[in-house]
């Protein structure tokens, strides 16, 4: 909870901690998720799944940063980052992938090698 990035979310779209979105989120701007999203996420900007957030969706974004729980396939055009304490189940596809110490991951990794 003492993470610096959480105090200043740069995202234009924020899904709050008590919000549940059941469906599709598409856009051209950064997205921060503190709550729950089920369905599909596709944005040209960054996607941040904050600690405590639950995402059960296929995610497409420029950079995808996971601190919470993510179930689904992730395609990042730039970078996928799994922070400590994060849990991800699904296939990851990105040119750069960062696993922090403590991150939990299950699935395939595709870095276009």
């Amino acid at each position: 909870m003492a993470k610096e990035k959480e105090t200043k979310p740069m995202a234009n779209t924020v899904i709050g901690s008590s919000i549940v979105v059941d469906g599709e989120i598409t856009g051209e701007e950064p997205l921060t998720i503190l709550g729950t999203v089920k369905g599909k996420i596709a944005t040209a900007g960054s996607v941040v799944v904050e600690a405590g957030a639950t995402v059960e969706a296929d995610v497409e974004g420029q950079t995808v940063t996971v601190s919470g729980k993510l179930t689904g396939n992730v395609t990042a055009s730039e970078k996928l980052e799994l922070r400590p304490e994060s849990k991800m189940v699904g296939n990851a596809k990105a040119p750069r992938i960062v696993f922090a110490d403590g991150a939990t991951f299950k699935g395939n990794v595709d870095m276009d090698v």
Partner: protein
């Protein structure tokens, strides 16, 4: 963390259902359904095409869908709203455009009506549900018209069946009656005219 407001940004579109227990600001677009125990703000430029069930609703943008607000609804001057509205307090600024029914009475009944409509909707996809939006009134309408037609038809049939003998009895008596009256008037008219002429 709790201070962070939920925002659907200008360049973001959500199709599906949003529900939760905090304030929501829509600056972009939402298609589907919004259910909150707090306030929903539809900012200027935002488009919301959804059934809305919230506590407080503030609209500066465009909102299409049925609205249930348990506390209040405020339509600002730039608001464009189409849909039935149920809330105990409704405020509309000068310039706000609204089309639909307003119910400031029984909110639970309106909520139940919206819920029953929503039950049929999730089966279809979000796009299909948007296309089907005109359907619920149509689905509701045919039974009403059928009931009306069912009631109206006997009403029309019964009077005509009953009137036929009346008409038949009146029509023979009427033609002789008119000539008689006409003749009487025709006979009287010159007399009155003569009297008037005499008086003048």
């Amino acid at each position: 963390m709790a201070d962070i407001q939920t925002v659907i940004g200008v360049e973001t579109r959500v199709s599906g259902e949003i529900r939760g227990g905090e304030d929501l600001v829509v600056k972009g677009r939402v298609d589907g359904k919004i259910q909150l125990t707090h306030a929903l703000t539809v900012d200027k430029g935002a488009i919301v095409q959804a059934d809305v069930d919230v506590k407080n609703l503030v609209v500066s943008g465009t909102l299409v869908g049925n609205i249930v607000a348990s506390e209040s609804v405020r339509l600002h001057a730039s608001a464009r709203v189409v849909g039935d509205l149920a809330s105990p307090r409704v405020m509309m600024e000068s310039g706000a455009a609204y089309r639909g029914r307003v119910d400031m009475g029984d909110i639970e009944a309106a909520r139940a009506a919206v819920a029953s409509r929503a039950v049929a909707r999730p089966a279809a996809s979000s796009l299909a549900s948007a296309r089907e939006r005109p359907a619920p009134p149509r689905v509701g309408a045919p039974p009403r018209t059928a009931v009306l037609a069912g009631k109206a038809a006997p009403r029309f049939v019964a009077p005509t069946a009953g009137e036929r003998p009346v008409v038949a009895s009146v029509s023979p008596s009427a033609p002789p009656a008119f000539p008689r009256v006409a003749g009487a008037v025709g006979g009287m008219a010159p007399a009155w005219a003569k009297k008037k002429v005499r008086r003048r």
